[in-house]
Amino acid sequence: MEVLKLEGVTVKFGGLVAVNNVDLTMNKGEILALIGPNGAGKTTLFNLLTGIYTPTSGRITFKQKEINAFKPYKRVEMGIARTFQNIRLIKSLTVLENVLVAHPECHSEGLFQSIFLTRAVKEKRKRIVEECMDVLRTVGLHAKVNELANNLPYGEQRLLEIARAMVTKCQLLLLDEPAAGMNSQEKQSLVDLIRLLSKKYEMEILLIEHDIRMVMSIADRVVVLDHGEKIAEGVGAEVQNNPKVIKAYLGEEIDENE
């Protein structure tokens, strides 16, 4: 079953076509990797999905609903969450608070509930914290809840971003280069985590990643973008051996040399 569908999605900034006529579908429970050279439009595509940009033309459908004009927060409510390529945590908040603030019931608490702070509200807060702790446990950060997000090592900051996205109770998780800056051991546990999330929550995961080995080991399917266009799509090796893909990554000359 299709959860996400892009039909002829194009976005232009002035004269620049950042994403050109891209078609894409994601099925229930799928892990899809988005690869391509720098500047191929991968992050722009994420921004289109999360509503930071709206497409110049084309259609984005999520859960059978067109979401082209939906605001970012609305898409989060519908179940799309993301992480950022350049880590964007709230520096002055602790690990737990960074996750808490993404919890839908945490930021929707009514003013009067906050002011009168009845027993019921306290109970609810306790439950929210408990849920957040569960997610933090899943990513392995539960021992660091009192640290400021800023003081975490790089790899853990990436995990915290994933936890924050998870807490929104998303159906579709967008990971923008989640392994960047991680060592091979951290990468391995990240791969395990992504598999776990996919299985445990039956969610769809779309990830941008440069590490081809990781992509091949984790993704059900791979989509390749270059200059804003989709140039290939398929399973593991068939994409890797696609001449267009090789050309996009290594340039024209390689053909002559080989």
């Binding site: 900034f13 992050t43 921004n47 930071i52």
Partner: protein
Amino acid sequence: MLSQQIINGITIGAIYALIALGYTMVYGILKIVNFAHGDIFMMGTFFGLFILKYFNAPFFLAFILSALFTALLGMVVERLAYRPLRFTDRIVPLISAMGVSIFLVNLAQLVWGTETHPFPKVFPIKTYTFNGMTISSIQILILVLSVILMIGLHLFVTKTRIGTAMRATSMSITNAKLMGINTNFIIAITFAVGSALAAAAGILVGIYYDAVYPTMGYTAGLKAFTAAVLGGIGNIPGAMAGGLLLGITENLGAAYISSQYRDAIAFIILIVVLMVKPTGIFGKKEINKV
């Protein structure tokens, strides 16, 4: 009647433009609003008043001297209250600027008292009438001097080495530094030039309205800032155009809508422009990159 209002509007608009240049130049480089600029303008006016009154200096000497003193004051303020804060959160220099503003107003009150001073009569007032509209010698003086100063500034910024360095610094302080530009010096010069222009405007205001008082910088500063925003803050020709536009609109508004709410008209324009096109009428659109 209409053309008369427009002439009056251009006169006051030219003055707004001179003050607005100081806001816009500083913003262009440091990306901060120098909230104390209005009070630097006030100090410049008092310097001019003081030199004319107590030393009986000839007008143009007084004009140049007070511009020099005010330039110096601007540099001192930059050195003490802004430079140490250059790499902090943007709100910090703003608060510091308010501290400077409070300091200068109270300093002026201490030295010159809280009362309103008349400005020495340096020019005989003559009025010329043609086609039913009148223009005074003072208005002509204001227009001529402002045009000269604006052309001078334009040449300074586009034709001199320091001006070029200034434009480079406003594009990127880091890059300018890498090109061997002494950015601290350039920033100090920017403050100096902006303050000198404010002093010039101050003297012209003194002559035109014949009233000088320590809190005069507040409204004038706010109006000039409006002019800078109208023209797109950071944009030098924009500030000039914005000043004229504000002066004219305000005068027409005072004549045809309500003179009591003359000042309110300027602020309403400010709010509307910021709502509709925050980059100003001549400003470029900023692209939000995520």
